[in-house]
Symmetry: C2
Subunit: 542 residues, 2 copies
């Protein structure tokens, strides 16, 4: 107990595991000023994941699915930061910086690691650039705005092909979160489309991609099939044994090679181990910390792990790992807090023991499937159970009241279609193209500069009524598109990919800022442009 | 009546003026398919400005102060785009592009211009980079998140000076919107601070800067003084005859030279003429279109103007310009629609005639000041009037119900303190410094590269226990800070401004993307770094 007789317990991660650990520690050490509790969380709220899909359709208010952590654990020091490194030897955690770039370090006696997992699109080309993840509250908001944006654009789009792509919505992953997401998405776009006078509702396509034979593999087959039939009846195209292999700005690429033209790809599949957890010197299994049944990290006294970033043996199930659910994480938190107290002489250390109560999946529009204490339910009754159970579990009385009010109003009032745009700022971004895609077309606005990262791009002139003229082929490290940015004229040629291509794009504002204030960069581009002008006069390459 | 007997009426701007024009046109031409109504608005919703300040404190739900335009005018084609240019000779409007960078052009027979004004910080150094505007819904959200972020940081800040700056909140401008903003901000930070266990409430400072002798110059002096005393009693430091002259990331600069250390500056003052409006070939006055009493643009048949971007003579007030209020704009919209109908043979053109009904300013916490039909009200009664009147004026029954519910819940439930972070993306940004400010300190994390735009920056080594060593002075076009980015080490020197300085900053991710994929840029930085390494070994400059 290092710092002057005080015991410093530091919890990493503001999910159910971390927050419930803090809540129980506060209860156990209510009158003990010698115990200091700290919690590091990248957000200052706890997200109630099961209600996240309802944010898409707006049937729950944006702020109502989340609870401020400060209100749940008022005696805990909350650090709204991200964890940058953990030094288990010196018992020190370094966090990201706030308004000023200074390192911020915390020492601990006990460390509780509940960092969960991370979204990762590694190995699937174009997904990081084009797929929308669906894990955090921010993701749900971004998705909602994106859906409304696609409807807005479809309403005024004059090319039928582009309009159909705008009205095609693809969700990858038929597990709980994918099914709940497609259900709410499908309800929302179909209901909202009534407000768009030029949208033909027959053109709307919603697609669920699932790698297995039947969706919701966690549930009994009869329930899964009920869900499958219901979603199909509501217009969802469920593609079984189908995997998302990649994406571009224009298409979803399926594993067999098929391309679905779309501007909306939601991926609920990819969760990778947390990078900082994976780097720890503990015994790991597939990037997760192997904890014992007391939630301790063996051989590292004072270190504890729980939730999705840990493998905790389930003593009710022959020591198999506990499933990664909220109901397990929050009970692990309570147990873990008591076991820490036990090491400080309060009570006995006990094994974590808990049997899954049930599984629920909401299907939108007053329907759900559920297996509760062995009972199988589907339809309206399951939906009602779903609402009652989750409302009870939602932490905080004020949230319960707010969500109940939202649900009540949602039964009476029409769906909301306001699009809350949030500026993405000036930017540098990456983009992925497959073979034979158009990067930009002659006559388009010159809104960004491109740098080839890998692959080859062909620049071609396609004047109407004339045969296309090949101008240049560009490779890694080459720039293109700078001409239209500098001259403020439309694109004077078309850029087309030869094979799969990755590019870096620099938007107009970022380009002009860099161009104006970095003289060496200005010289570089002036030379490049002079060269190309000469080239195009003489009919030369590049 | 160009396109095949159809009359195309195009409205620019989705504020009260534009939306009420569309609503009245729909009513007048309900059964006339030969009239086509189009509305271009950058957002797909109408913001109810008077309720915007309540979004700060969260007493109204984020989405409830806005109404979807599609629901108000279902027969209008809504283009959720920004206007890029107006060609009044050829009667053509060009809009920004959507998912793809293609130009989008609309032709018209009648053009209604209601584009309002724009936020502009020209002439006040550092305001564009550091002041938060307060005009759109997005602004209110950003401000709310910023306030919570400042409280979060203050709660864990170890340096007293930095903590006091984090707890100082400055609003510039004592007109309606500044007063309502400071009232809600003051209530919110003081109430929310109860949830932050390490914040000393005596350290919270809220400041209102006002250029005149008394705030709310639009109201009778007795009411203004009532508001002033009330705000002071609640802890607001009102600085009269004081102007905001500029800002840096660390301070608000007052006109006399005083600096207030703060991380939060809200500016409600600056609205400049809309750039696209100011460029029109019409008769203008201070960037606004001079319209006649029929809301026509003289000498340009088929062109109309209303709202804040127009000067419309107030026939009830000896032809003085109408004040820029919502109550005028929406009535101008209705009149304008009828006058367009008159040019098409329906009824008679009439002058715009309307006498201000009243003026209201909310002061938070169940208080307000109001002058209604000559009656002066203040306190709870004015507050109650405020709520009843605005609830009646809020367009859409569903919004009325939602806001009434919000208000009711707000009386019962505690203030919300969740911070909805929204990624700003990789970026290039500008920053302003005054003389003798620290850009970064030795030992700070190297999180960005700097390019000097103007002014001079000194690089100094300040090892503890040693005299500071001058390393280099940099000027326009010079880079600094690249060393820590490339080596991933903390800053090895301190950068300090000599006089006022503007810089361009490139964050770590943007820098590495550019560095990795633009070979000429990589060469440039490698040379620069090699040079500086040599320099620092030999004790030389730069």
């Amino acid at each position: 107990m290092a710092s002057g007789g005080r015991t410093r317990i530091l919890i990493l991660g503001g999910g159910f595991g971390g927050v419930y650990t803090a809540m129980e520690l506060e209860r156990l050490f209510k009158k003990d000023p010698s115990v200091e509790i700290g919690l590091v969380s990248k957000d200052n709220y706890l997200v109630f994941q099961p209600m996240l899909p309802e944010v898409i359709s707006g049937s729950i208010g944006i702020l109502d699915v989340i609870t401020p952590i400060r209100r749940l654990c008022p005696r805990t020091n909350l650090y709204t930061r991200t964890v940058e490194s953990i030094d288990v030897k010196n018992k020190v955690v370094t966090m990201s910086s706030g308004f000023r770039p200074r390192p911020y370090v915390l020492e601990y006696d006990h460390l509780v690691i509940g960092l969960g997992n991370q979204t990762s699109f590694t190995g699937q080309p174009g997904l990081a650039e084009n797929a929308l993840p669906f894990k955090y509250l921010g993701d749900a908001l971004v998705l909602r705005n994106h859906l409304i944006h696609a409807l807005e654009e479809a309403d005024i789009e004059r090319e039928a092909e582009v309009r159909r792509a705008l009205l095609t919505f693809v969700v990858a992953g038929g597990g709980f979160s994918g099914v709940e997401a497609i259900a709410e998405l499908n309800d929302f776009v179909r209901e909202a489309s009534h407000h768009f006078r030029n949208i033909d509702r027959n053109e709307i396509k919603t697609v669920l991609l699932h790698a297995g034979d039947v969706i919701l593999p966690e549930l009994p087959k009869t329930l899964a099939e009920f869900a499958q039939n219901l979603l199909r009846k509501r217009g969802v195209d469920i593609r079984l044994n189908t995997r998302l292999a990649g994406a571009t700005a224009e298409t979803a690429l399926l594993a067999g090679g098929e391309r679905i033209p779309t501007k909306t790809i939601v991926s609920t599949v990819p969760s990778a181990p947390h990078a900082i957890v994976a780097a720890l010197p503990f015994k790991m299994e597939r990037g997760r910390i192997v904890a014992n049944e007391f939630l301790e990290v063996p051989d590292f006294p004072g270190h504890w792990a729980l939730g999705d970033c840990a493998i905790v043996p389930d003593v009710t199930n022959a020591g198999q790992p506990c499933p990664p659910t909220a109901q397990h994480a929050l009970r692990q938190g309570t147990r873990l807090a008591r076991n820490i107290a036990a090491t400080m002489g309060r009570g006995q250390k006990q094994r974590f023991e808990f049997k899954t109560l049930g599984k629920l999946a909401g299907l939108g529009h007053r329907s759900a499937v559920a297996e509760i204490l062995g009972l199988k339910l589907s339809g309206v009754l399951a939906w009602f159970m779903w609402r009652v159970i989750y409302l009870m579990k939602l932490p905080g009385l004020d949230r319960k009241i707010r969500v109940a009010t939202d649900w009540f109003l949602d039964l009476l009032l029409p769906a909301d279609i306001v699009q809350l745009k949030v500026d993405r700022g000036a930017g540098i971004a990456r983009q992925h193209y497959e073979a034979n895609e158009v990067v930009f077309r002659e006559g388009d606005k010159g809104d960004r500069l491109y740098v080839v990262v890998n692959g080859n791009v062909q620049i071609v002139s396609e004047k109407p009524g004339q045969a296309p003229v090949f101008i240049a082929e560009l490779g890694a490290g080459d720039c293109f598109g700078e001409m239209a940015l500098v001259s403020d004229q439309p694109r004077n040629a078309t850029a087309r990919t030869a094979g799969a291509v990755d590019v870096l794009t620099v938007d107009r504002e970022a380009f002009h800022q860099l161009f104006a204030h970095l003289p060496p960069l200005r010289n570089l581009f002036q030379q490049l442009i002079a060269q190309r002008m000469k080239g195009s006069n003489g009919g030369d390459k590049k």
